[in-house]
Structures are given as structure tokens and as C-alpha cells.
């Protein structure tokens, strides 16, 4: 069973038991607001593929703060109703083809943001405040299309010094991939602290890891700084090379050829279908 974040145990008492990747995917309800980091920031591509296999529907994705490969395949597989993000891109491999096709076809709603605004909305949720201010943004059409963002006089500035106030955003589910979990469900993810902020801000954090190791990272002064406490982690599943084709710190690099092939195949519905059958459902590719 999943270890519930808030029902953890006193230090040293309750070992964490990983759940299966498929069980983790099944725990994400259709329609959930699901936050995903992009390709340079520990995405759980393994969980995205499990969500596709599990037939997830109506997901509302949040890019933290932008979106990449995992978002594009979820859109292509018809799992997604809405995307809030600051950009969707496959990096060197170019535009995200399934995102672009779905936007044009009107099958997804796209809500544009800008990177620091997404960080700020998550920080507000992390801090438990209803909003946080952010400089910039004024004069951008992004702001003009966000009725949920408020422009207000800065009470500490001269008259006319207006500033944007962004509402706290608490995703129902956050998912990312980390290097390792320990016996108590603490997760080590190194310097990618945007995932820590995300876990703090979210109602449920689901983490895939390369491996589970003995011990308690919080008791090790060298590992603790890159650790997210189990307090914030609802469940851990082992998924070796679970970030691929994205990179995982110094564990493995970005698989540019894989993404380039995807970008090429996913230009058409048929090509994406063929790619998905092979890569997600493990069918032998047609000759």
C-alpha cells in the first residue's frame, strides 16, 4: 500500500514499502491537476507511460515551469484535457508535435504562463499564503489572458507602482523521478530543488526512483541537503531509468537520438500511434 505522507511514523519506526508503477499510475484520478517537471528536471517518463497504459483521461497538466517529452506523449495518447505551462518543447528536437496538433485540433485547452510565475504560484502554496507578488509581467498578453492574476498597487511603493499578485497553486498530484529513496521514504533528488518546492506545494507527491537504499538520508549531513523528507511523499515506485529519454543528474545522459526519432514519428497521428504501440505498449514494431 501507498505510504501516506501525512500518516508517516516517528523517525526510525515505519519502513517504507514501494508500490508498483502501475498501482501508482492507477492512483491518479482522471481529471487530476498533475504537475510534471520538464526534460531537464527529473521527469518521470516511466509514470507518464504507465498513465497512458492505464488509460488516464482528462488530466490537467502543469509544466514546472515548462513542459517536454512526457507532456507531449500524454497529449498524444489522449490523456490530457488542459495544459498550463510556460512553454512546450522537445529542446534540440524542436516543437512538441502532439501538443501543437492537439492545440490546433481544439482537443486541449492551453493556459499560457511564464516560468517565474509558475514557480511563484507553487512557492505561495509551499508557504501557505493565498498569493505572492512578482515583478515584470505587466504589458504581457499572458497577463491579459489570466483573469486569475491580479494587478495591484504596491503598498510599499510610490503611487502608480503596480505589481502582479499570483494566486497559490496546489497541484492535486506531483510526479517526478529521483535517484533514490531510503528505508523511510525520504527521496534524494540532488540540486533539482524545483521538485522539492513542487512536493511541498502539492497535495500528493508520487516519486519514481532508480533504487531504494538502506538507511535514513536525513541523518546523513552529506545527503540531507538534496533530500525531500517523506513527510511530503505519498508513494515511491521503483522504475529503473525512469527518466529516460531525459537525463538523471550524473546517472545517465539525455538520449537525443530517441527524442529526435520521436519528434519525427509523432509529426502524424499514425506515426505517433506506431511509436506508442512500440515504445509504450511494447508491441513489436511493424516492419
Amino acid at each position: 500500500m501507498a505510504k501516506r505522507g501525512a500518516v508517516g511514523s516517528a523517525q526510525g519506526d515505519a519502513p517504507m514499502t514501494p508500490i508498483s508503477l502501475e498501482a501508482m499510475a492507477a492512483s491518479v484520478p482522471d481529471g487530476a491537476l498533475l504537475a510534471l517537471p520538464p526534460d531537464n528536471s527529473l521527469p518521470s517518463v516511466a509514470l507518464a507511460m504507465a498513465l497512458i497504459r492505464g488509460g488516464a483521461r482528462g488530466l490537467r497538466l502543469l509544466g514546472v515551469p515548462v513542459s517536454g517529452f512526457a507532456t507531449d506523449i500524454l497529449i498524444g495518447a489522449g490523456c490530457v484535457a488542459e495544459v498550463q505551462t510556460s512553454a512546450v518543447s522537445l529542446g534540440e528536437a524542436g516543437f512538441a508535435p502532439r501538443f501543437t496538433a492537439a492545440l490546433k485540433a481544439g482537443t486541449i485547452t492551453v493556459r499560457d504562463a511564464t516560468c517565474p510565475a509558475i514557480h511563484t504560484m507553487l512557492q505561495a502554496a509551499e508557504k501557505g499564503v493565498p498569493f505572492m507578488p512578482l515583478r515584470g509581467l505587466i504589458g504581457s498578453d499572458i497577463l491579459a489572458h489570466r483573469p486569475d492574476w491580479v494587478v495591484q498597487q504596491n503598498p510599499f511603493g510610490p503611487l502608480g507602482d503596480v505589481i502582479v499578485l499570483l494566486p497559490a497553486l496546489s497541484p492535486e498530484v506531483a510526479a517526478f523521478h529521483a535517484v533514490m529513496a531510503d528505508s523511510y521514504g525520504n527521496v534524494w533528488l540532488g540540486r533539482r530543488r524545483e521538485c522539492a518546492t513542487l512536493a511541498h506545494a502539492s497535495q500528493r507527491a508520487l516519486v519514481t526512483v532508480e533504487r531504494v537504499v538502506e538507511g535514513n538520508f536525513l541523518e546523513d549531513e552529506r545527503l540531507a541537503p538534496g533530500t525531500i523528507s517523506a513527510t511530503y511523499i505519498e508513494a515511491v515506485a521503483i522504475a529503473q531509468r525512469g527518466a529516460r529519454p531525459a537525463a538523471l543528474l550524473d546517472e545517465y545522459g539525455f538520449d537525443a537520438a530517441y527524442v529526435a526519432e520521436y519528434a519525427s514519428m509523432a509529426k502524424t497521428d499514425a506515426g505517433f500511434g506506431e511509436w506508442m504501440a512500440c515504445e509504450v505498449f511494447g508491441q513489436v514494431r511493424a516492419a
Partner: protein, 262 residues
């Protein structure tokens, strides 16, 4: 080390338990109050061995509870620095916190600033720490102060570090559940903003409590504070003491005759 003869409890030396053990067990029972929101994550602040013992007792009784002990000597539970406790509390993840005060008044206001003119030109206390935030933002708070005297429990605090109740419309997640002292337990009603005597520690009466209390309170038929059971005492003296010896060697030595090296 052997137990210090002067303070160690025993079948032939009075009630069979130390006052600190009664307080720890009393706090543990308040933590487990079935009518309150479950305490799944409890934070324990500075220099609080008795609340810490109560929390460990709850854990050792087998209840699922996460303890964030802020003054654990080796390591600490946080990896975002000292703001993390406050962020956790802001997120609504801290179910229960403990607070005390240089003065506590009948409306459960806390004064950690001092007496006399601001900022404590009479007696200066250390300062408010995080109380002005933790008190309204934790889901519940147990107030704990061993000293029960008119000096500490006053009609009205000289300065409010953290208010016992908040005006309508002001966001507030929780209030004092109870005030536990060396003499009794008070329950707090945030609607009436008033304490009610809930139980009397051994040797106390409603009259003795009134004499030692600077604020007015309601008193019905207050029972005796239930004494610790054998199982609770065994856990306190064994596994709870084991967990606490590193952080609170002085306390463990004084109460249970055990120091850090034990």
C-alpha cells in the same frame, strides 16, 4: 549510572511516578483525544522535554505519528532550513504544536515578550519565537507551563505575542486545546475565549487552583488527573527514555537516572 535516589519513583516512595511522568502521560492523552483532529504530525520546539516525552509515548504506544523534534542534537528533520517548520505549518501539515509563555492569560493569550513597557522593560522574556504564526496556523496547540502561579497565569498578559482567539474573518486554523500546568489541566473554549478546569493533579483542589491562578475560569466537578498506567510508565522509562537521552541528557538523568551515555 544508577537512578538518582532522590527523584526516582518507586512503589515505596509516594504515588509511584514522578510529577514529570504524570505530565507526560497527561499530554499524551490530550494528543490522543478522540474528539480532536488526529495528530499525525506533531512538532516540538525548544527545550521541551516533557512534551517530547509525551510525543514519544504516543509513538511507542503504536499510534502512527510523525515527530519533528526541532532540537534534535544530531541532524534535524528539515532540509529547507529553519523556514521549513513554518512552511509546513502554513501548508496545514502540522496537526499539533506545543507553546508556553512567560505569561498566559484567561483568554489564552501568550506573552513571550516581557512585562512593563514594550519591549519588556520590566522583566524581559527571550522573545516571541514563531508563536505569532504557529498558534493560529497549527491545527491545534497544547499550552504547557509547569509553573502554575499568579505570576505566570495572569488575568491579562502585559503584551500579546500570540493571541488566544482572533476576530471573525481572520484566517485561523486552530486554537489552544488545553493548558497543562504542574497543578491541573484546563480545557479551552475558543468561542467563549475561556478556560474550564478539566482535571486536578494529585493534592490539588478547586480552591488551591483558584489561589494559584491569576485569571478567572469555569470549574465544574473536576476529576483527578488520571495517573499513569503501568504500561505507560514502562514505555516512558524504557523506549521513550532511549529516544530522548541524546537530546535531553539532563532531563533523562534527573527523572530516570539516565544520561547520554546510557
Amino acid at each position: 549510572m544508577t537512578p538518582a535516589d532522590v527523584t526516582a519513583p518507586g512503589p515505596s516512595s509516594g504515588p509511584g511516578f514522578a510529577p514529570e511522568e504524570l505530565l507526560a502521560v497527561t499530554l499524551a492523552r490530550l494528543i490522543l483525544d478522540p474528539t480532536a483532529r488526529p495528530a499525525r504530525h506533531i512538532a516540538v520546539g525548544a527545550a521541551s522535554p516533557i512534551p517530547a516525552a509525551a510525543c514519544w509515548l504516543v509513538a511507542k504506544l503504536g499510534h502512527p505519528v510523525r515527530l519533528s523534534l526541532l532540537h534534535k542534537r544530531s541532524g534535524n528533520p528539515f532540509t529547507e532550513g529553519t523556514r521549513e517548520l513554518f512552511d509546513l505549518t502554513g501548508q496545514g501539515r502540522i496537526d499539533l504544536f506545543f507553546l508556553g509563555g512567560g505569561q498566559i492569560d484567561g483568554q489564552a493569550n501568550l506573552n513571550l515578550i516581557g512585562t512593563g513597557d514594550w519591549p519588556g522593560m520590566g522583566v524581559r522574556f527571550p522573545g516571541s519565537f514563531g508563536s505569532a504564526f504557529m498558534y493560529p496556523m497549527a491545527h491545534r496547540t497544547i499550552l504547557f507551563r509547569e509553573e502554575h502561579s499568579p505570576r505566570v497565569l495572569v488575568q491579562r498578559v502585559a503584551h500579546v505575542s500570540a493571541p488566544g482567539v482572533s476576530p471573525p474573518g481572520v484566517f485561523r486554523r486552530g486554537h489552544a486545546q488545553a493548558l497543562v500546568t504542574g497543578k491541573c489541566v484546563f480545557a479551552f473554549d475558543p468561542v467563549a475565549a475561556r478556560f474550564t478546569l478539566a482535571s486536578l493533579h494529585p493534592g490539588e483542589t478547586v480552591h488551591s487552583i483558584r489561589a494559584a491562578t491569576g485569571f478567572d475560569f469555569d470549574a465544574g466537578a473536576a476529576p483527578q488527573t488520571a495517573p499513569p498506567g503501568d504500561a505507560e510508565l514502562a514505555l516512558l522509562r524504557g523506549p521513550v527514555c532511549d529516544e530522548m537521552a541524546e537530546t535531553y541528557p539532563e532531563f533523562c538523568g534527573r527523572i530516570w537516572g539516565r544520561g547520554q551515555a546510557a
